[in-house]
Structures are given as C-alpha cells and as structure tokens.
C-alpha cells in the first residue's frame, strides 16, 4: 500500500495500462511535456514516448474523432479533455460516433475508448472549468459513464475503463485531485469491484444517501454529522452513472424507506431525477416519503465567489435528509 494523491493514483493506473497493453495510447492537449494541466499524465510521455502519449493540437472534436480512427485500427485510445466545459466541441464525435459505431456496425467494430474528463467545481476557476455535464452522456446509449471518489478506486477504475471494450467516460472529481489515500498498486483490476457496481460506503438504517464523484466525501461527512444527532445514514457511492447499479440502491432503500440523492449538476433532467424515478418505480411500497434531490441549481456555473452556494454542501445535504425524514427543515410549512 502506498499513500498517494488522487491525481497520482490515476497516473499510476494509466502507467499500468500503458505497460500492460502496447495498444493503449494517450491523446490530449498538454498531456506530454507538461504532464497535463493537473499533472495527471506527468512523466508518461518521457517513459512511453511521443507515439504512446500524444500532445495534440487544440481541437476537441479531433482528439475524440482521431481516437475513433485509432480504435478502428485496433488501438485503445485514452483521451483527455482538459476541462469539463471543453467537451462540447467534441459532443458530436462522442454521441454520434463513439457511442454508436459498435451498434452501427452490428458489433464488427469495437470502440474501446476512454474519455477522461476532470469535472465539477469547488476550485475557484472561471467559466467552463467547473461544470458537471454527465447527464448529457448518461442519456446517450452506447456509452458507459463512471466516476470515482477515492484514490484506490481511481487507480482501479481507470484500468477497468481502458480494458473495457465499450467506450467509457471517466469523470474525475477535480477538487479531489490533491486528496490523499492508500492505494494498493498490486490490486488486480480484473479481480476488484467491477466499475459498474455501486458501493455502500457507510451502513445506516434511516436514510439512503446516494452520491458520486466529488460529493461522496461530503456525503460521508454528512453521515458522520447526522450520526451525532442520532440519524443513521447509509451512504452509497454510485460509481457508475450509466448504467446505475439500481439493485444496490433498491436493496438499501427497501431497508431504510428513505432516499436522498445529491449531485453538483443542475436538478432538471439530472441523474438525480432518473434515480428518484427508477427507485420510486421499484420501491414505491417501501418508501415512506418521496425521494429528495439535493443538487446544484439550474443556472450556468456561477462565478467563484458564489460557487459554494451552488454546490451542495454538508448542511444542504442534511437539510435534504430532514426533508426526507419529515423533520423540521428549511421548507417546513411549504405546501408541495
């Protein structure tokens, strides 16, 4: 076991993949000499060469579109989109090409492309640097969308994503890049928890609290705080956003009878809505109250002085827990 930061853990996972499979190639802006703006690819070009770790011109559609061509030729490209808000120029290549070529060719052509996207806010950045665009991609069939919440999982899941024959969007919670954790580099990704499965990180009996990516830590902190008040929260790290491992959530909600979902992305059409609807369909007779969403607002990502109002924090999550449990809360007395 080694102590390392989240960013270093992804770097170690990328290194393992580059070592294990000569068909793995990395593409992106500034990922070579600089090692990426977050240093996630630090040192990889030096060790694997400019043909394995490719500094590309500044063109997101081309980064993804050329990855498609490389995949056609049997490569397993791993592309870096520098920031969440820069993924939109590549949107067509992701949703119309990467996602659909396996279906289009009736299984003849595989698209084992991993698209790494640092996402989410909380780092005081300007516009386009703090977004949570995951719902655009969870809505697109053919893509797998995953995110990670601690260094060990980051290390394992990046390798699982790269070895997956389906395209995977790998969302990296950028405000956790510098968090440290224990990483067992000897852990075989094939033997580890599959990337499609949710994890119960804290067991509880009163409320199921579902989170992913950057908010998992916040959710765990909320559970600790709630425990001091005698409320027992079960925290689920969703990990896979498409598909969601509903069986794990269903099993939990059938025990707790209450569901709170939290994410940084805006509420409308967000993943929380999907989880709430699916769990309501499958657990209606077990739910003692409607599912509650604690999310970002339906606004453009705000300027940094106000971003902490937009981002669900520990107290807003606890307020959501109170709403789910029918305890006094900020909306008490409000009809509907």
């Amino acid at each position: 076991m080694t102590q390392m930061t989240f960013a270093r853990a992804i770097n170690a996972g990328l290194r393992k993949s580059l070592e294990n499979d000569p068909k793995v190639v990395l593409l992106g802006e500034d990922i070579g000499t600089l090692g990426g703006v977050f240093r996630v690819t630090d040192g990889l070009q030096k060790d694997f060469g400019t043909h394995r770790v490719v500094d590309t011109p500044l063109a997101e559609s081309a980064i993804v579109g050329t990855a498609v061509g490389l995949a056609y030729r049997g490569y397993r490209p791993v592309v870096e989109i520098q920031f969440d808000g820069f993924v939109y120029p590549a949107f067509d290549q992701i949703v119309s090409q990467v996602a659909k070529i396996h279906y289009r060719t009736r299984g003849a052509v595989k698209m084992p492309i991993t698209i790494r996207i640092p996402f989410g806010g909380g780092i005081g950045s300007p516009e386009h640097h703090s977004e949570s665009p995951e719902a655009y991609f969870t809505h697109t069939s053919g893509l797998r969308v995953v995110t990670v919440a601690d260094p060990q999982d980051a290390y394992t899941v990046i390798q699982q994503a790269i070895s997956c024959d389906d395209p995977v969007l790998y969302f990296e919670p950028k405000r956790r890049y510098h968090d440290k954790g224990e990483v067992d580099e000897a852990l075989d990704p094939a033997a580890a928890e599959p990337m499609g499965r949710a994890r119960v990180l804290a067991t509880g009996t009163d409320v199921t609290l579902v989170a992913y990516g950057p908010l998992v830590k916040t959710a765990l902190d909320a559970a600790s705080a709630a425990a001091d008040e005698g409320i027992s929260i079960e925290v689920i790290d969703l990990r896979s956003l498409a598909p969601v491992d509903y069986d794990t959530v269903v099993a939990s909600v059938r025990r707790t009878g209450h569901l709170v979902i939290t994410h940084e992305a805006g509420q409308s059409g967000g993943l929380g809505a999907e989880v709430a609807a699916s769990i309501t369909e499958r657990c209606f007779y077990y739910l003692e109250a409607p599912p509650v969403r604690v999310t970002g607002f339906d606004i453009p990502y705000p300027y940094s002085k106000l971003e902490m109002h937009h981002l669900p924090g520990l107290d807003r999550i606890l307020d959501g827990v109170d709403r789910a449990l029918g305890r006094p809360n900020s909306l008490s007395g409000l009809e509907g």
Binding site: A67, V68, P77, V109
Partner: protein, 389 residues
C-alpha cells in the same frame, strides 16, 4: 474551352467574380470531354501501365455503378428502399480513385460513395441494406477495409486521420482515404482533420468530390476560393483534377497514395465533378438549380467520355458494349433480388450490439419488452397486430 478547363459549368462569368483569385490552377485532365487523350508532362507517368483491357474494365465499372444507381433509385420509387443518394455523374471520381487503392488501404467515406464500395468488393445486397432500413450498416468494415458510410457530414475525415495515425504507429505502408463533398469542407471536423494530418504527417488522402451542390447550397456558398487551395493553409499539398476524367482521377489518387506510402504525409484532392441527380431521392433539384447548368455538365458526362476514348481507340465494339450491358443488368438483378428477399430483422434485434459487454439498464429493458411481446403469444406479430386490439 474555359468551362471545360475549369469545370465550373455554365457559370464562368459569375464564377470568376466569386473566386477573386481568378480561375486558379487548371484542372488536371488526361482525356477531353470528346474523348481525346491529351498528354500531361507529370501525370501521364501515373497511368502509363493502364492497358486497353484495363480501360475497358474502367468503362465497365462506371457503367455498372450507374446501373446500380438507377436500379436503387427504382427500388426507392417502388417502396423497397426508404431513401437513396444517387451518384449520377460522379462515376469517374469514384471508380478512378477506388481502383487506385490497395486492398490494405482503408476507406472512410460519406453516404454517396457506393461506387467506391463496389470497388472494395462490398456485397450488392449490403449496398442497400441500410437504405431499406434493415440494419444500421451493410457490411463488416474489416472484410473490405472500408468503414460503413458516414451520415454526419465530414465526421469521417477525423476517423481516417486517426486511422492513419495508427498506420504510422504500426510502421505500415497502407493509407487511409477519406471521401467527402464540397459542403463538408465547411465543417469543423474536416478542418480539424487537416490540422491533425498535417501536424503528424500521417498517411491520409483527403478526397473531396466537388459536385457543386450541398443539397441546395452551391459551392460558392462554402468557399470564396477553390477548395483545393484551402489545403495550402494547412500545409497540405493539393491536386485539382477533372473529376469526370477517370484516368486523371486515377493518376491524382496514385500520386497522393504514393506520397503517403513513402512517408510524405497527407494530400488533398479536389475532384471537380457534378451531381447530376438529386441530393437524395427525397430532393427536388429543380427548385434550386438551373436546367442549363445540368445541360452543360451532361456534355461532360464521365461515361460518355471514356466511351468516346474507347471509340477513338477502336475498342468500343458492339461486343464490348453488350458484354458491359449484360454485366450491369446482372449486377442490378442480383442487387434487386438481394434487396427484396432480405429477411426482416427480429424485434429484439433492436437491443443487439449497443454494448459489447452487458449493461444492466438495457438487459432489463430487453427483458421487459420480451415479456411484453410474449404476452401476445406470437412475438413476431405482436407489434403489427397492436392496432387490432
């Protein structure tokens, strides 16, 4: 003469106003519209090996794909195909380039390159499978080294460039060739593809068929300069060739392929041709296009041109013409039969191949829909009988 040389159809006067750099360079031409073989100091070399027999074969190919096009259009009119994008007038561009390729080269084309697909050996039934709505693709790309046709304009140019990056990594001497139209040159992807191709000097050929119309939009709306001249801005050498001259197209394609194989990087080819038919069978070009323009281009018909060349050489015998007609009829018949006897897909096929590994959401939806279908007792008939409930 000037219209023949520039290939700009019947609008020479307005064209020069729209291309402020004048008519630009001359088109590479080896055969005139009247079938005269004209020598070219540079390009003759690249088709010096073409025998009379091969000329006859090119004539046959062009005739066959025109026949395929006519048959598919008829199939659409008869309700057997939902849609068809005719290539009428572009036979030389497709056959001249398609026959220049090696089997280990890899093609990424748009939806109109059915002539190229024919050259690659695509099964005739597979040519119409998509347009019948029977599947999302006709063929396995790896069996013919040609990706399934791209519908999003220009998206395939990036795939070709990426594939060429792979060729370069592999140290191979094959080439990725991408086909697109004049309209596509306005798309970001085509421009990004040229940036990447030039930057990495990868073996890719950008084959732009300037057929003058992107549905109703004329090429002058896409570009203020000749399309071939755009490549220079990316540092990519370009060729501007008479797209209705099969020999010239073949020569230009061979130049580009040779450069790519020898590590010389990308080449942009503008094949100046004309889409004599509609954009697709759903289109009505009489709404946006002058009949005189079509007439001008009909005089430069690519098949008439090679026929005239063969005639001058005494090769266009009645026997050859009959033989070619028989071949074209046989191919068309085979395609028609393949089309009309194609079995319908099964309802649950919609769930196939979305992912190559299991997906719990989709497995559940498939399971639920299978149960729904089974509730009718006859899964195949369930949907069509729904109206009778």
């Amino acid at each position: 003469m000037s219209t023949d040389q520039t290939g700009q159809g019947g609008s020479t006067a307005s064209t020069s106003a729209r291309y402020p750099h004048g008519q630009g360079r001359d088109l590479v031409q080896l055969v005139t519209p009247s079938g005269e073989r004209v020598s070219h100091p540079e390009f003759d070399y690249w088709v010096r090996d073409i025998t009379d027999e091969q000329l006859c074969s090119l004539y046959e190919d062009m005739t066959v794909i025109r026949r395929i096009d006519v048959e598919a259009t008829a199939l659409q009119r008869q309700g057997e195909l939902g849609l068809w994008p005719p290539l009428l007038g572009q036979e030389a561009a497709q056959i001249g380039s398609g026959r220049a390729l090696r089997s280990d080269d890899f093609v990424f084309s748009s939806y109109r390159e059915n002539g190229v697909a024919y050259c690659r050996g695509v099964d005739l039934t597979d040519l119409v499978r998509v347009w019948r709505g029977n599947a999302s693709s006709g063929w396995d790309p790896y069996t013919v080294n040609m990706a399934t046709p791209q519908i999003i304009i220009g998206a395939q140019t990036l795939h070709a460039t990426g594939y060429a990056m792979g060729i370069q990594n592999d140290g191979a001497d094959s080439v990725a060739v991408t086909y697109f139209g004049d309209g596509a040159t306005s798309e970001g992807d085509v421009n990004e593809a040229m940036v990447f191709a030039a930057s990495f000097q990868v073996p890719v050929v950008f084959f732009c068929t300037n057929n003058h119309w992107a549905i109703s939009e004329p090429v002058r709306l896409q570009s203020h300069i000749q399309l071939a001249d755009r490549a220079a801005g990316f540092g990519i050498p370009s060729l501007r060739v008479d797209g209705n001259d099969v020999l010239a197209v073949m020569a230009a394609t061979r130049v580009a392929l040779d450069r790519a194989r020898r590590g010389g990087g990308p080449t942009f080819i503008e094949a100046v041709s004309y889409r004599m038919g509609p954009h697709t069978t759903a289109d009505d070009p009489t709404r946006y296009r002058d009949a005189n323009e079509l007439e001008d281009w009909a005089a430069k018909d690519p098949i008439s041109r090679i026929a005239a060349l063969l005639d001058r050489k005494g090769l266009l015998t009645e026997e050859l013409q009959q033989q070619v007609k028989d071949k074209a009829d046989a191919v068309a018949h085979e395609m028609r039969t393949g089309c009309t006897t194609m079995p319908d897909p099964e309802p649950l096929d919609v769930f196939k191949h979305v992912y190559s590994t299991p997906n719990s959401w989709l497995d559940r939806q498939q399971d639920h829909y299978a149960r729904y279908l089974a509730s009718f007792g006859d899964p195949a008939g369930a949907v069509s009988e729904e109206g009778a409930r």
